[in-house]
Symmetry: C2
């Protein structure tokens, strides 16, 4: 089972890196699988720590895919790292072992500390639609335009019916990216 979360890690110079990641559990450990190369991988290999942020602010997911990586963090409680201020819950991890892979090494991490900050507010269909659109945006170069267009049209229904301001803002950022992709495709056709 895979949960979509935001991983925060700390570089050697103290700067914090924020990245969306699908995580899973394996025998009580949390498994991160960052791509190679990536700041998340460098940072976890560097100091051995990370935080998982369980967030319902989908602007952070959409933001990380559209050049908006600056989200408020606070220092973690127990490890040299930070967590997102808006996380509904977070846990702090220590790297335990690595399963090597050329593309996506697997980092098996122990949970040292887990805190709940705010209650779950229920499912929101627009939040799920923003996440699906974010995944779509991360794969634009792999997909035919017709598929992108059909999927956006389908996801837009949940946005229209159930979104709040945060979901609309996140959706807007993703749609700009898709519009830019379409414009580039058109220019390619014209050339």
């Amino acid at each position: 089972m895979i949960f979509e979360t935001i991983i925060t890690t700390q570089a050697g110079d103290g700067s914090i890196h924020i990245a969306p990641m699908g995580i899973r559990e394996d025998n009580g450990l949390i498994v991160l699988a960052p791509f190679r190369p990536s700041s998340t991988l460098d940072n976890v290999l560097g100091n051995g720590y990370a935080a998982v942020n369980y967030c319902d602010d989908v602007r952070i997911f959409a933001g990380c895919l559209t050049g908006r990586r600056d989200w408020p963090t606070v220092p973690a409680d127990k490890v040299p790292c930070a967590r997102l201020k808006s996380a509904l819950a977070h846990c702090e991890l220590k790297l335990e072992r690595i399963e090597e892979d050329e593309l996506r090494p697997r980092l098996f991490c122990r949970v040292l500390h887990r805190v709940s900050h705010s209650p779950f507010r229920g499912f929101n269909r627009a939040q799920a639609a923003v996440l699906e659109a974010a995944i779509l945006v991360s794969r634009l170069h792999l997909l035919p335009w017709e598929k992108i267009e059909t999927e956006v049209k389908y996801l837009a229904i949940a946005i229209d019916k159930t979104a709040g301001p945060r979901e609309r803002e996140a959706w807007g950022w993703l749609m700009e990216k898709i519009e830019a992709h379409r414009a580039a495709l058109k220019q390619g056709d014209a050339a």
Copy 2:
């Protein structure tokens, strides 16, 4: 903004009714809009109370649409009602005023009590897909078969990639219902 939750209400004989419902907030009140006629409407009008259950067990959503309404509850803390045992959080409501409507009256409710039981575990794409399939199942009679088929095929991707056992079970119940609908359509064609 609309959140998909499970509403629990209590009938005059003490029995508990469980029903999925999209809720919204309006000036600090929670607005329920149950269909007329429905047990949820009868019960809230009957004793003036309800509980909102913020659940991530999507079997309850899919179950209520496929004849599986018997989920463990515990008594509410402050009002004559019950809440779902598996709720990550819940709140207890008192009916404050009614906006009449022939199809869906709006029940404006005050939150008397709010409790968090378990932390949010992050977004799971399969949970969102089960919810979308549940909405699809509730509208089968309104939709052409091609649309149903296309949507199921799309949603199945997230199930395959990210579901846990609860999501697979819920998905199975919904797929049975869709299969039965298809069989009925075929029989209709043959007649």
